[in-house]
Symmetry: C2
Subunit: 202 residues, 2 copies
Amino acid sequence: MTPVEETEDQRRVRGARARQRIARRAVDIASLEGLTGLSLGRLATELELSKSGIQTLFKTKENLQLAAADAALAEFTTAVLLPAQDAPDGAARLRALTERWLAYAETPLFTGGCFWSATLPDFDSRPGPVRDVLLAQHNAWLDHLAGRLRYAVDAGEIAALDPDLAAFQLDAVFSAANTAMRLGDRDAAGKVRRTVEGILTR
Amino acid sequence: MTPVEETEDQRRVRGARARQRIARRAVDIASLEGLTGLSLGRLATELELSKSGIQTLFKTKENLQLAAADAALAEFTTAVLLPAQDAPDGAARLRALTERWLAYAETPLFTGGCFWSATLPDFDSRPGPVRDVLLAQHNAWLDHLAGRLRYAVDAGEIAALDPDLAAFQLDAVFSAANTAMRLGDRDAAGKVRRTVEGILTR
């Protein structure tokens, strides 16, 4: 083996890194324009890679869309879900999730804001594996919110409510606020906070 | 003038009808895939018209998008806003608007469901005349909801609340339900009704 030759392991690591970098860029594009606007050719141009290289890594546009959904969830978990775990479960956890979510949408973590707000309305009428993954991720998020609400009710921290309905309402307001922020509504975060407090202090 | 020749008036009427038919089809496509996926060529194929004919009528894709927004609002007004006027203003009007809106999203009036739920998240990061029109239509809807809520509060029908915040929450839940319906949630309409009753009977 000469020094310029790569080992099988080195090649694999380089491939994984390239996949990651491409998927991350795909998340940014999807957050702006939805997942259907993605194309291997466009990513190649934007990342200054060869289209055939990207094709080798992902094979199909669908694989790229699925990789983007995975990458988005990984970053969302790191930026929103895990840090909120520092707060005790229940009302405090819900407030922490709200603040992390607002930072995620406002900073924003992805160029166009929330990944699911941009991709779910786009994919809701397109059955297939991509829709299934987006829906499963969305339902896991709703279940997570409902679980924290249920905990808060059981602990006597907040008044009795239907946790699934309240989770649906919270997520709806989060998503509407994400769009409102992009449309210049400076009170979007305030509306989210007042909605959360309305539920927690009813 | 021979019988086969059209008068200027007849030509104008025919042009207006063709524009209307094309714009209405554009609304259906946009409700499924957003307004950015529209193209003059695709509409020509689907409606079996010549692309040059459509080009003559609309000139640009942006004009077509604006015509679609106008057509969507006209149909929404006829299907949702006007029939609800039969109910007295306040809580009864809000319940009528809710039922009309649910029928609009569930039937659905446009192939892919709510026009604004499909187009606003898509256009929120694209400044320009189309976004301005969609945003103005959206704000008029929020103002309409807030006005009915304000009336209900002033008439002593419902407990005091922030009408603008409650309108934002209602619209957010409507829009989330529109997506949920497309994703197979059979309780989406139920969640909307429980949210409305939660606000009206707090």
